[in-house]
């Protein structure tokens, strides 16, 4: 499903060259729940951004659903992100000016779909994360855990095959973190959605099917 081969990622400024990832080789099969662990600055988020097509590798090849990504244009990448990927961020990144329902509809705005269909799908996604009663609330009216559930609803509303979660429990207390983890586990087991999750928490990493460990940009396990 996802294949990274000999991936290097180098960030260059006028004076400094930083090797963020070096020689990453990774295969993630459909339906896997993979966690990525490592100390701060080891390249976890960089790796997730590459898999999420938000960034491009400096060298190496990235294959998603059998399709080579290298050389794809911005438009093609945007379409692939819209159709195949869903994102959950540590700080939720909900649009504060929009209601919960409007936030969840965002990925569907970039598809050919009627407003009624968008609404139907968004309501179904919110129902799935247990927030059907909060659709007209604004993000600031919700707890952190509820906001992250909205973010998960937004990530799954377009029925992506892969969900990428960047420390989804990082800003939550352990109880809420558990709640979010359970939703992700259910997504993985029931829908066979592939999940790649960056985490610092061993407890959550243990609940995934495999853990990839990074250190100084290198894959160590």
């Amino acid at each position: 499903m996802i294949t990274l081969k000999d991936i290097d990622k180098v960030y260059r400024t006028e004076r400094v060259e930083t090797l963020a990832l070096h020689n990453i080789n990774l295969d993630i099969a459909q339906g896997e729940f993979v966690s990525i662990m490592g100390p701060s600055g080891c390249g976890k988020s960089t790796l997730l951004n590459l898999v999420g097509l938000l960034d491009k590798p400096t060298t190496g090849t990235l294959t998603l659903d059998g399709q080579k990504i290298n050389g794809a244009g911005d438009k093609a990448l945007a379409r692939m992100r819209n159709e195949k990927l869903g994102f959950v961020f540590q700080s939720f990144h909900l649009v504060p000016d929009l209601t919960v329902l409007d936030n969840v509809e965002i990925p569907l705005l970039y598809r050919r779909m009627t407003a009624a269909d968008r609404r139907k799908h968004a309501l179904a996604a919110l129902d799935r994360v247990g927030l059907a009663s909060r659709v007209h609330h604004f993000p600031t009216q919700l707890s952190g855990g509820q906001q992250q559930r909205v973010a998960i609803a937004r990530a799954i509303v377009g029925k992506p095959t892969i969900v990428l979660a960047d420390e989804p429990t990082g800003n939550l207390d352990s109880a809420m973190g558990d709640e979010i983890m359970s939703i992700l586990e259910e997504l993985n087991s029931k829908d066979q959605t592939t999940i790649v999750m960056v985490t610092h928490d061993d407890r959550f990493a243990e609940r995934t099917s495999r853990t990839v460990r990074l250190f100084d940009g290198r894959q160590v396990a």
């Binding site: 938000l54 819209n82 000016d97 929009l98 509809e105 705005l109 970039y110």
Partner: protein
């Protein structure tokens, strides 16, 4: 525009009150000035009584002879107009009328200055004056050199004290004229209709009847605008046949059968450019653009800082597959909503300003309306301003790297 985008646009504006207020002040002031300019332009060149059919009217207001060392530019003479605009194919009616000139009315020891225009009978058929009393003088009055006059309502009030004037006489430059009709006031911005007193052209000397230059203007009412091209072509061929009175001094005769704006542009440019309307139109459009550019630059700067605030939202939209085009469209649409709000406020302020201008003595007898056409210009100006000030920030925003945008971004 999607409902969600529209909702977001209003919410963003409502949440960032200071930004919205500062932006709106700049937008509103700019649009007020442009709308007032558009209203003056429309009230000068747009269709309004007595020039309701101005869309079918063509004018000859300037002729000139040009040589390497000298030139001579003037209004056309009666003879030139007779030779060049009479019996033009495609013309429904043709009139010759004089340039408005100041004359003096003597009334019981009072000396009243009034703008006076000489006109033929066809003038009253082409222009639709509103008569509050009586009727216009006729072609027979003109041919018979009768001393008759039409006066404006404000002049009647000054001379006769709001009493009926038809049948009574005025002493115009020492000669007595019988008033046949009284018309409502005509704004001074109307190119052919403005005057306070109209009298027949009357008897002309044979020299005046042949004159190339003089104090007259030509007015042609075409059957439709589609006839303009043919009319202009025939006019040009007739001008080309005009005899050159002084071939040693002058090499070229130049005149145009012009729309109202073309005629104005020809006068302003001294009949020296080949396409005066395009020339003047470009200058005016350039000036309007320049005038808009300063507040637009200000708005661009404000918008760029606003983008920075909304960087995570842009990152999220990009992550979920928003193509650049959609982001540009969203941001430009938000900006157009802002400028349309500014336009609506500007429209109200421009209306008040024009009312005050009409009431003031600055433009006597002016009737500067904000009609549906000017409203249309206002909407167009606001949308153009919105696009002008929104496109660059939107383009910059759309080029934000999604990872940078999610982190808080830098342009």
């Amino acid at each position: 525009m999607r409902n969600t985008s529209l909702k977001l646009a209003f919410k963003v504006l409502a949440r960032r009150k200071v930004f919205t207020a500062i932006s709106l002040v700049g937008i509103t002031l700019t649009l007020v000035i442009l709308m007032v300019a558009a209203a003056i332009f429309d009230n000068t060149f747009g269709a309004a009584a007595p020039e309701s059919r101005i869309g079918r009217m063509l004018f000859v207001r300037t002729v000139g002879m040009y040589g390497p060392n000298s030139s001579n530019t003037s209004n056309p003479g009666y003879g030139f107009l007779e030779r060049t605009i009479r019996n033009l194919p495609g013309a429904e009616n043709v009139s010759v009328y004089g340039e408005a000139m100041t004359s003096v009315i003597y009334d019981r020891g009072r000396r009243i200055e009034a703008q006076t225009t000489r006109a033929d009978g066809a003038y009253w058929q082409i222009l639709d004056f509103k008569f509050v009393e009586g009727a216009p003088f006729t072609a027979a009055d003109d041919a018979g050199d009768r001393r008759v006059a039409v006066i404006s309502e404000p002049l009647r009030d000054r001379v006769f004290g709001r009493k009926p004037a038809v049948g009574r006489s005025i002493n115009l430059g020492g000669q007595s004229y019988r008033v046949t009709g009284v018309v409502t006031a005509v704004p001074p911005t109307r190119i052919a209709a403005y005057s306070e007193v109209w009298v027949p052209i009357g008897a002309l000397s044979s020299e005046q009847r042949r004159a190339f230059m003089g104090p007259f203007n030509g007015l042609v009412l075409a059957r439709s605008r589609w006839d303009f091209k043919g009319l202009k072509r025939e006019f040009a061929s007739r001008v080309a046949r005009e005899p050159n009175a002084d071939p040693k001094e002058y090499k070229e005769i130049r005149a145009g059968l012009d729309s109202s704006f073309e005629a104005f542009a020809r006068q302003v440019t001294g009949n020296r450019v080949a396409r005066p309307a395009l020339f003047l139109g470009s200058i005016l459009a350039g000036a309007a653009l320049l005038f808009m550019s300063l507040p637009a630059l200000n708005l661009i700067t404000l918008n760029l800082s606003r983008i920075m605030e909304r960087s995570p939202e842009i990152g999220v939209r990009k992550a979920f597959g928003a193509p650049r085009r959609a982001l540009v469209a969203q941001f430009v649409a938000e900006n157009v909503v802002l400028t349309l709000i500014g336009g609506a406020i500007g429209f109200v302020l421009a209306f008040a300003f024009l009312r005050a201008l009409d009431a003031s003595a600055l433009l006597p007898d002016s009737r500067l309306d904000l009609n549906l056409r000017v409203f249309g210009y206002g909407v167009l100006i606001a949308v153009f301003f919105g696009i002008l000030s929104g496109v660059y920030p939107a383009w910059k925003m759309s080029r934000l790297h999604p990872v940078d945008a999610l982190r808080g971004g830098s342009l």
